[in-house]
Amino acid sequence: MVPRAEIAHWLAASVALLLGLVLLSEVIVGSEVFRRRAWRAYLWPSLALVSGVLLWVVAVFSTFSTMHLLAHALWAQAAMTVGAVQLALVRGKLTSPHWPLLTAAALFLSGVAFLVHEQNPWLASRSAFLHHVIGWTIVLAAAFPVGQALQPRRALWGAGFALTFVVLAVLLYADRDAAPALGAALP
């Protein structure tokens, strides 16, 4: 039995929240202390990679709409690409400080996919409202990795990037399959 869309979105929200807390803690303690234990250094790349794999699973079940299938496939590919590059950075296979630009591109394209595949106006439903808000949030948040690439030592960019996932989690938790755009959705 395939779970309802809102169930998958709440699970995705939990992964995003954990990712946000992990990234936020790295900003607080600094990368040097955070990467002192190898498993912690691989945590965010692994979470991104696993999220990509799970998004492919969701894409497989999104056959009810070509737009949804394409959007989920794009998010899956973006997450896997970022995860793979982060793994290579942690492993030392890649060394350029400009690799966060790839994360920025992945975020930007993911945000655009949110905006493009939502055909309804903002207040049509909770789902439509959240697609617009999440899309614009991610498009604007693409500025944080750009900042990380240009000013790697400035904590502001890392904090903004981490908080993006916390905000994304809040928005995904707010999703309901059938609910008005704003206000309570009683069962």
């Binding site: 779970p3 607080i28 002192r36 938790y173």
Partner: protein
């Protein structure tokens, strides 16, 4: 005052802000998990209909497995138990090299 003692005092004074900065960062990492759990609990009180255990009629297996406020609590708990303690330990270890 000998120059050795003066040097020691100056060194201790220079070390103090770094230690207190480390303490503040350790505290910040330690409160992340509990704050997340608190958010989940507050959400459960604000929207009790999100807790399926309180209204089990007509609900499926997925509804029992995935209850958003409880998920938030679980994420906070995971962070508090699996990630925060090691980070705090490494912060307190300071510049004494890699832990493992």
């Amino acid at each position: 005052m000998s120059s050795e003692l003066a040097g020691e005092i100056a060194e201790r004074a220079a070390r103090r802000p770094r230690a207190s900065g480390r303490g503040g960062r350790a505290l910040a990492v330690q409160v992340l998990g509990p704050l997340t759990m608190l958010a989940g609990v507050v959400w459960a009180f604000a929207q009790p209909y999100r807790i399926v255990f309180l209204h089990p009629e007509g609900k499926g297996a997925y509804d029992f497995l995935v209850q958003p406020p409880l998920l938030v609590v679980v994420v906070g708990l995971l962070f508090s138990v699996l990630i925060a303690p090691g980070l705090v330990e490494d912060l307190e270890r300071g510049d004494r090299g890699p832990a493992r």
